[in-house]
Amino acid sequence: MSTQPAMINRYRWYEVISIYAGIFLFLTFILAPFVEGFLVSLKPLGLLFSSPYKFWPENGSFAAYRTMWVSVPGFARYIFNSFFISIIVTGIVLILVIPASYAFARFQFRGSGLLLGAFLAVNMFSGAVLLIPLFRLMRSFGVLNTYFAMMVPGVAFLIPTAIWLLRTYMMRIPRELDEAAFVDGASHFYTLRRVILPIAMPGITVVAITTFIGSYAQQFIFALTFNSKTEYMPLPVGLFAYFGRQEVIWNELMAASFVGITPAIIVIFFLQRYLVSGLTAGAVKQ
């Protein structure tokens, strides 16, 4: 019995070769921009602009990784801003989402299904559609050209996924735990804080990671539109300004990009199991 799956999965040699060929083709498409970007960051500017095109860098060096700190003034600041914005956004999302998810997971009341649907419907609208009124809103709050203008709208669009993930997680916590606490005379609030929160910690961690990554990856349109101060720009917008110049110093731009994506890459390698389960949770069994 137990040998059957192994037998089923045994491939003939030509099958193995075609699977690897398929994977190679697929990953070439996925990774080509990174490979090319990395090689560009190693090439001296002269080689970069020589023709015919050369794929491999001859006499490549990491010089661009040093010089970029000088030629992109404020580069360190952009990275700090990106992290700072993402951390605060993640914090606000968690504060809003943990209680809401618990309510959706535990209490059935009139309209709760509809309300959850309304939250999920927020996902349908990108920030781009609501940009005009959001711009006016930020202006009337008086927060244009501050960190707040980039954080406040971003939070709203990260709430739906976070609620969905955490609700799914909390629904798996046995209801008996709540009831036992209740029988012992604990209040609702005490139950949430002392019983549910500690058990839900792994789920909250997954939500925090996915929210952070989402916020780090999507810093563009709000930062582009609601902030014009260089010192508050997150990395993508800071580099975009640099990208838009007449003469782009490509090797430095690519070096800067690689430094900028490092946190994401680290997360992928260390936390990928959580990430996949988090990002595809609820997707298959809906």
Partner: protein
């Protein structure tokens, strides 16, 4: 009765902060967009109610062309994403050594800051020095350099390819999860009956995957329709407006030219299309899950 009531109050207390936040940042702006679309709001101090003028203006301009272009762009992007994503999921689902690593390597386009991935594509599309033009020339496929982003037809496809690249990891991992949810004993039963690998794929895997494929393509449709960053960074809607989609046109009208009223009218149209997709999505998924439970 009293307990019930206190529970209800507690539930609403938990929900209130998130609900209020979404009302202020999403629901109110949605309403405001609708109202603004009937006004001539701009940088001027005064704002007048002008009725349907903004909507009439939209249809007197080339906006109809923009709508069609948006749909064509979205259609091809979603279709290619699904084809490559399902292909990738099939490959990664095979039990060959190294597959755990290959799955990790699928993720970067999804996880890294979107804008940075797009910068890299911007370089690859460069005619004089970029990789695509360079490699094609070295292989003798094309004679001279092609600046992919400088010509309308190539820029249109270039932006689609970049959008596909960003969307493929999600489709792949989602379809992979769906494939792994197919009960193993179905395969074993078919295998015992002597069914070949391809037959098993066609008769077991594919039919069971169709609900997930439909769900995924609809989710993908909504996010692709909203796509902004890719086109804005690569071409800003150019050359000659040939990559201008509805979102880009709205952004340019509202934020670029500061014509808030006209921009809002465009945004309302986008919202109408999105709501249609949204309703279709909920209908299809609820029907799919109903079909599931009947089985």
């Amino acid at each position: 009765m009293n307990v019930q009531r206190s529970t209800l109050i507690f539930a609403w207390m938990l929900l209130l902060p998130a609900v209020l936040y979404v009302i202020v940042i999403v629901a109110y702006p949605l309403l405001d967009t609708f109202i603004l679309s009937f006004t001539d709001a701009s940088l001027k101090k005064t704002t007048n109610w002008i009725g349907w003028v903004n909507y009439e203006k939209i249809f007197n301009t080339t906006f109809a062309e923009v709508i069609i272009r948006t749909f064509v762009w979205t259609f091809f992007s979603v279709a290619i994403k699904m084809i490559i994503g399902v292909f990738g999921a099939c490959m990664l689902n095979a039990a060959v050594p190294g597959r755990a690593l290959f799955r990790v390597l699928t993720m970067p386009p999804w996880i890294v800051p979107m804008a940075i991935g797009i910068f890299m594509w911007g370089w690859m599309y460069n005619g004089q020095f970029g990789m695509i033009s360079g490699v094609l020339q070295n292989w003798g496929i094309i004679d001279g350099p092609i600046a992919f982003l400088a010509h309308g037809s190539t820029a249109f496809w270039a932006t689609i390819i970049t959008d596909v690249w960003i969307g493929v990891p999600m489709v792949t991992l989602y379809m992979l999860a769906a494939m792994q949810a197919v009960p193993q004993d179905l395969y074993e039963a078919a295998w015992t009956d002597g069914a070949g690998r391809f037959y098993r794929f066609r008769r077991i895997t594919l039919p069971l995957l169709i609900p997930s494929m439909i769900t995924m393509s609809m989710l993908s449709l909504i996010s692709t329709f909203n796509s902004f960053d890719i086109i804005w960074i690569l071409t800003q809607g150019g050359p000659n407006g040939e990559t201008t989609t509805m979102i880009i046109d709205t952004y340019r009208t509202a934020i670029g030219s500061k014509k808030y009223g006209e921009g809002a009218a465009r945004a309302v149209l986008i919202c109408i299309f999105l709501s249609i997709f949204c309703v279709a999505y909920f209908r299809v998924t609820s029907r799919l899950s109903a079909g599931e439970s009947n089985r």
